[in-house]
């Protein structure tokens, strides 16, 4: 596990160093809050994404990102309570793994601000666990579509701020024999965090 993590970091650094002069590798650790929809909206989670951003056309950029996030207490209690007998505690968590296309826009008047849109596909791996009652444990994997808008802001050549609002829609097989939530679900989530950008450049000098 450690060697895999080290390889990932090395790959990120090498990609950053080897990137074309106008490209950047962007690392984005973030906190998430689910704010509306079919999941528990008073909770959230944390995650990180790594992306590769390039200029595309006239101030429009394009980026590819891989994002992983962990959300605790994912589903609403009332939607999953029927899975266990009364008196049995059931926890639900979710791992969100997304690949996404990011389209940032450079604003000539405000070059350290970059609004962006994002669209992606991935999987939500939902876990249902009953501590002390493993017989109720189950999980499910669902293809998920996501789209959203956000803003990046450059603080230094290395560091920035980033926030976005994203809509997720998970496609669930209603007749699945495995899992705990048997209908499509969707939700909105806000992600806020810092960005680390390599190589160290001012955005106006990039594109």
């Amino acid at each position: 596990m450690r060697s895999r993590r080290d390889s990932f970091l090395i790959l990120t650094l090498v990609a950053g160093v080897a990137a074309p002069a106008t490209a950047q590798v962007v690392l984005f650790p973030h906190l998430d809050a689910s704010v509306a929809g079919d999941v528990e909206t008073t909770r959230g989670g944390a995650g990180a994404s790594v992306g590769y951003h390039l200029p595309a056309w006239r101030g429009l950029g394009v980026g590819l990102e891989l994002d992983a996030a962990w959300h605790g207490h994912f589903f609403r209690d009332r939607d999953v309570a029927h899975l266990v007998p009364e008196g049995v505690d059931l926890n639900t968590d979710a791992l969100l793994l997304m690949g996404q296309l990011v389209l940032p826009v450079s604003i000539p008047r405000a070059p350290i601000w970059r609004p962006y849109g994002t669209v992606g596909l991935g999987v939500i791996h939902a876990l249902f666990t009953a501590p002390g009652n493993e017989s109720y444990d189950t999980d499910q994997d669902n293809l998920t579509f996501a789209a959203g808008v956000g803003m990046m802001h450059q603080l230094t050549r290395l560091l920035g701020l980033r926030a976005d609002l994203r809509y997720y829609h998970a496609f669930v097989d209603e007749h699945a024999s495995h899992g705990g939530y048997f209908e499509d679900y969707s939700f909105w989530a806000v992600s806020v965090g810092v960005t680390f950008q390599l190589p160290l450049q001012r955005w106006p000098d990039l594109w």
Binding site: G44, D77, P111, R157, L161
Partner: protein, 201 residues
């Protein structure tokens, strides 16, 4: 749904600042300080009206940005309960400054930690918070079906304030501000404090 509206408001505000913010080059600097205030919203279970608070704050300014990042900690004194918030807010000085008073606005996120007196242990689904196992309690803030007696919740912070910056006080930066936290745990605090400039140009 209210959180969704708050998120939309934040994005709209960011867009507005994007449109009006000049592409200025800012100075780097670090300020740290202490603050004290009062929380004005009332909640039967979690927070009485007029709960006093104390806290600490660090404000960081950066080479490329006119934004100041404020990292905050505030502890609220509530009998038999634990309530504190760790926050990160981006502040923007409004271009309205007199010679020594500088108004600012800001937005950010706050992670609020709470602990209520434990009620009878009646486990329910998802009775485990972000921070570990808990006893079930109907007292939990923020949602009818959130049954934790302790945990952490993330919310949106909106800040407005004014800081005092005068040549007669070369290192001290007194300030006063109002902060609203919107989310599972709503807070409205009025705070006064003083920052000490450690490094800057």
């Amino acid at each position: 749904m209210r959180q969704f509206q708050a998120a939309l408001a934040l994005l709209t505000m960011v867009g507005f600042v994007t449109a009006i913010a000049p592409a200025v080059r800012a100075d780097t600097g670090v300020q740290v300080g202490v603050q004290s205030g009062i929380q004005l919203l009332h909640d039967d279970e979690l927070r009485p009206e007029n709960a006093p608070s104390v806290g600490a704050e660090a404000r960081l300014s950066f080479e490329l940005s006119p934004l100041i990042v404020a990292l905050t900690f505030d502890h609220f004194f509530v009998k038999d309960r634990t309530l504190f918030q760790v926050g990160a807010n981006a502040l923007y000085d409004l271009p309205l400054g007199h010679s020594f008073l500088y108004p600012y606005v800001g937005a950010g996120v706050g992670v609020t930690r709470f602990a209520l007196p434990e009620a009878a242990p009646t486990p329910s689904s998802n009775g485990e918070g972000l921070d570990g196992p808990v006893m079930s309690s109907p007292l939990a803030p923020g949602a009818g079906n959130a049954t934790d007696s302790n945990g952490m919740r993330m919310g949106l912070n909106l800040v407005g304030g004014v800081r005092f910056d005068h040549i007669a006080l070369p290192v001290l930066r007194p300030f006063a501000q109002v902060m609203v936290s919107l989310g599972p745990i709503d807070l409205l605090t009025i705070v006064g404090g003083v920052l000490f400039e450690l490094d800057g140009r």
